[in-house]
Amino acid sequence: MERQPRILIFKTNIQTREQKRAIASLLNSQVSIESWTIDQEDEDCVLRIVGFAVDKGEIIDLLKKQHFDCIELH
């Protein structure tokens, strides 16, 4: 069976284009992340991370260091 990547979903407060730009370079440099998107039109500014070896703790730490809220949604 083909291996499926993990999809992690987070509620954030990344609301502006500048804030998105600020996290973009960080997320792009993570080798475990295959792709990511953020829905800034949604009230939860949902961050969606796709990757085979992504770790939710690492993502939360990464965003918290940049002073953003980041809560995993289930």
Partner: protein, 195 residues
Amino acid sequence: MRTRDNTKELLVKEVACEILVQEGFQGFSMNKLARACGISVATLYIYYQDKDDLIRKLGIEIGKAYYTEMMKDFSPDMSFKEGLRKQWENRSRFAVNNPIKVKCHEIIRTSSHNDYVMRESMVDLKSIFGLFIRNAVERNELKPMSREVFWSIAYGPLYALLRFHHEGKSIGNVEYKLSQKDLNEAFDLVIKALC
């Protein structure tokens, strides 16, 4: 790890269509959709990247289903009358059986997503219908005319009847239900006008 659930995904598409038809783009949000489906927002984002991704995928899926139905038992080599009749049959069947999907597709087609959705879902359709028209003109079954005039006359009456049917009323608020008799009558007049 969460995996995709086909039943849930079908429900999401169905409810998304209903919200778009009832409330348009302004009233549509991922949060509202999740609530209406009784699922978590996270589950919705497993399926789709964001609202735009969902709307585009929805448009492409409906478009492909519609175009598959259009091609049923149709060939560009058919005589013009036979081929156009088949198109009327296929298009009206899909529209009558899938009123919400058709309305939803219309809404998506009038949005900024239209170019992307059409490009992804139409694929071979343009060339097939182009060939059908060229064949008909070459066989002197159809007068040469612009695409716009052709479409307006060939399909305009069909879509007007379907609109009356979906609204349940025609001009002057008169109750209306599409009948085969009306379809036949309109089709015969279209053939007279085009051939």
